[in-house]
Amino acid sequence: MSMNDVQALIPLMILAGAGVVLVMLSAFVPRRGVVAALAGVSAVAFLLALLPYFGTQAVEVAELLVVDPLTLFFWTLLGIATLVSLIWLMVTPVAEHDGGAERYGLMVLAATGAMVLAAAQHFAALFLGLELLSVSLIILVAWQCRRALSIEAGLKYLVLSGLATGFLLFGMALIYAASGSLAFEITGRAHPAQVGELYWLAGMAMLLAGLVFKLSIVPLHFWTPDVYQGASLPVTGFLATVSKGAVLAVLVRLYFDMALADAGGLWMGLAVLAGASMLVGNWLALRQNQLKRLLAYSSIAHMGYALAALLAGGALALEAVVFYLAFYLATTLGAFGVLAVLSRPQHECERLDQLQGLYHHRPALALILTVMLFSLAGVPLTGGFIGKFYVLASGAASELWTLMALVIAGSAIGLYYYLRVVLALFRAPAETSSFRSATVPSTIVLVALTLVVLWLGLYPAPLSDGLARIAELALPG
């Protein structure tokens, strides 16, 4: 490991070190605020540590990781999402016995795993990152150990994650058997390998199954609504954004490095799964009155759209999926943020009727949530509209008409349940309803997220130009 490598790893080291220190510190410093503040500082330090890398050459770290413009973009995105998640963790009121300070350290550790994933170009790094992320998340999901739902969710996530990991590992073993390497690019070139085409294909299929599980693509989506509902709001938000974002990031790199676009059968399989996700996710959300479950199904559909964008292949697809991720993170964090702000200790804001008439009492919060829901639905003025435009643009460029027709059908179905929530916000409030008001820091973050979502929708030119450059560097030729 050269000095250069160490330098490239500084941001990761900051995050990893902070995670360990914070978990240990929680045992000695009983004041939650101190730990929370330190966690926030570590996320900010991570983001600041990224600054010197912009505009530099790509650095490979011992075959395992690569720090190139694409990685930096993912790191920035996930770093900001982590920071916002930490803030939501701080502002969401919890019952006394659920308020352990260890949660901050765990979230930072999970974020470290996410960052490793986003930079991985080798199966060993992929595995390390994914496990670090999952194990920390399992504890976070099951944290409220006096709520049956929380335990159930944690157990479900643990068992199914374990199973997915098993698939992942076995897949890697088969790929290694077929190609003799664990680096994405080399194994990709081995296809179709002289000896092990069947190994390679079977290995890839199992590997993808493991990743698809984490993204909760149909048919491996069953855990999603239960875990979303069982975990506390900020943890769910983190799971929906940072965790899924990191897995999507590694999938993007895998897809291009291993040239999966040329692997006919696998490509077709992924296309079918993407189409199924859009339809099933949106369909199951239709009659859902539980907001967290609704957002869970919505995320299933959105991961389907993102996957569809990726499948189009080429530089435009890379741009599309990265833009999609950017708007999706901002929007989802905004939506979970509003719910977190409205929650009370032991009573999270999680049912649709709890939002009824929000506009009459807290117009600002209602409007912010409306913007977020419209963004998820893909209505103009919001980032979601440009995101959907990107998906359709890359699909149309590759003439994937069937998949694009499914995107449209999914969006049409999806509108119904997003609009149902919007309707509830503007309906006359129930007599008994009362809403908490937002604190200053959460208001600032919410307004900032709203501005980001609107900015992405109104003037995406700076980001789209930047993404075009990143895609050009990542996929020369």
Partner: protein, 492 residues
């Protein structure tokens, strides 16, 4: 620059009106009205605009998303200008009609009203296809709020249905736009969404046909064409009066405008190939709308179905593919906007005074409200196509034009005129004549504002009916360009 200002004015006035009029209905309404009238004055200055290349009166452009060659490209010709004037005129009427009806959250109401007007203006002015689509979707959102927050008893369902129909068909159009853009990109190497560039896209005929259908679907959902009309009766009926006026008067016209502006010129061969089907669909709409209008018990639903019938003529006019029919289409759109807008105002007044739209519970209004009766009679007669009034000119020209294209369809569609007479007179008979009912036994007379509003809508109906030539002259250059784009041998 005027063009940008035209859209920006209501857009910027909207939050201001919301804030200043948040709990004062009168102030909110008056401010919104001032904004729209100022915008109307601004639009009138376009008549004196220094000419761009014929037929365009003015053009303005600036880069927006250079990655995709997307510009903010606005331009206006005679056709666009007429639509802009209609939008602002009816926008003002819709605001006037709302003044006494909207008591709840008035600032928020006029905020959406102004946004809807701005979005529609954008649709009529945008000539970058992405920008056009952007506005096309954007005008939905405020309309959705107008229906869902201030609508009548079954508003939730109506609002969601309206939104899903239009947005889903809109996405199909977006896909068609992208297909067109990429095909043009493959052909010329230039990535652009500009209307002027895409007019010259060299397309494979079969691919062009599919793209044309994508556009056609979005525009005919909005128009609406039978069988894609089912959102319309619900949305019109449940919307507050101002919303109904905007919907029927202006939003439906974006469909007809889109067909004339995009479908026919970009896909002339495909349109010609599809024309026989479209003509029959139009005729079906004319008859189906008329029959269903006749069967309604609800005043607003009756007027809504009459819209389906009238817009069937518009579809026929566009696909007759000759200049008489297109002239008729433009006039029909203007006339329908005015008369149906007025009929919705009348229906709104009836609902406001008597708290019902059910014709079984209405009757004998003529004695209580003679002025309203006269106005209703006037607009009903205009709507059934009485010579001397605007609708007659439009329908007549469309029938003349489509007769040249296909005599049989024209004959069938002409039967719709009988239907129009029947349902219009039924409306007058059941609501204004006959014995008074319990509901109508107490009546209030119209105030000055309501009389002024209906009078102001009646004037252009008469003027257009008697001297349609200036309007036809205004639209002629744009339509002549359309004609020049048609492949030879298509025009009869």
């Amino acid at each position: 620059m005027t063009l940008m200002a035209l859209i920006a004015l209501p857009l910027l006035a909207a939050p201001l009106v919301w804030w200043l009029g948040r709990d004062n209905p009168g102030r909110a309404g008056v401010l919104a009205l001032i904004a729209v009238l100022a915008d109307l004055a601004l639009a009138l200055t376009l008549f004196t605009a220094g000419g761009d290349a014929e037929p365009w009166l003015q053009r303005w452009q600036v880069d927006w998303i250079p990655r995709f060659g997307i510009q903010i490209l606005l331009a206006v010709d005679g056709l666009g200008l007429l639509m802009v004037l209609l939008t602002l005129g009816l926008g003002a009427a819709a605001i006037l009609a709302s003044l006494s009806e909207i008591r709840e959250r008035p600032g928020f109401y006029y905020f959406h009203m102004l946004l809807a007007i701005a979005g529609t203006l954008g649709v009529f002015l945008a000539l970058d296809l992405f920008l056009f689509f952007f506005f096309w979707e954007l005008m939905l959102v405020p309309m959705y709020f107008l229906i869902s927050v201030w609508g009548h008893e079954d508003r939730d369902r109506a609002a969601i249905k309206f939104f899903i129909f239009t947005q889903a068909s809109g996405l199909v159009m977006l896909l068609a736009i992208l297909g067109l853009v990429w095909a043009h990109h493959a052909d010329s190497g230039e990535l652009t969404f500009s209307y002027f560039a895409l007019l010259e896209a060299g397309l494979d005929p079969q691919f062009a046909f599919w793209l044309m259908l994508g556009f056609f679907l979005a525009f005919t959902v909005k128009l609406p064409m039978v069988p894609l009309h089912t959102w319309l009766p619900d949305a019109h009926t449940q919307a507050p009066t101002g919303g109904s006026v905007l919907l029927a008067g202006v939003l439906l016209k974006t469909g007809g405008y889109g067909l004339l502006r995009f479908v026919v010129p970009i896909f002339p061969e495909a349109s010609a190939a599809f024309a026989p089907v479209a003509l029959w669909l139009g005729a079906a709409g004319v008859l189906y709308g008329a029959v269903l209008a006749f069967g309604q018990e609800d005043v607003k639903r009756l007027v809504a179905y009459s819209s389906v019938s009238h817009m069937g003529f518009v579809l026929m006019g566009v696909f007759a593919l000759n200049i008489q029919a297109w002239q008729g289409t433009v006039l029909q759109m203007l006339a329908h906007g005015l008369t149906t807008g007025a009929l919705f105002v009348i229906a709104g007044l009836i609902q406001h005074h008597f708290h019902t739209r059910d014709m079984k519970r209405l009757g004998g209004l003529w004695h209580r409200l003679p002025r309203l009766g006269v106005m209703a009679m006037f607009f009903a007669v205009a709507s059934l196509g009485m010579p001397g009034l605007a609708n007659f000119v439009g329908e007549f020209l469309i029938l003349v034009g489509s007769f040249r294209a296909d005599a049989v369809v024209t004959a069938v569609a002409a039967l719709g005129l009988i239907g129009a007479a029947v349902y219009s007179l039924i409306l007058i008979q059941r609501v204004f004549q006959g014995p008074e009912t319990e509901t109508t036994a107490s009546g209030i007379s119209l105030d000055r504002r309501e009389r002024f509003l209906l009078g102001a809508l009646a004037v252009p109906v008469v003027v257009l009916g008697l001297v349609p030539q200036p309007v036809m002259d205004l639209a002629a250059p744009a339509l002549a360009v359309l004609e020049s784009l048609m492949p030879s041998g298509v025009l009869p």
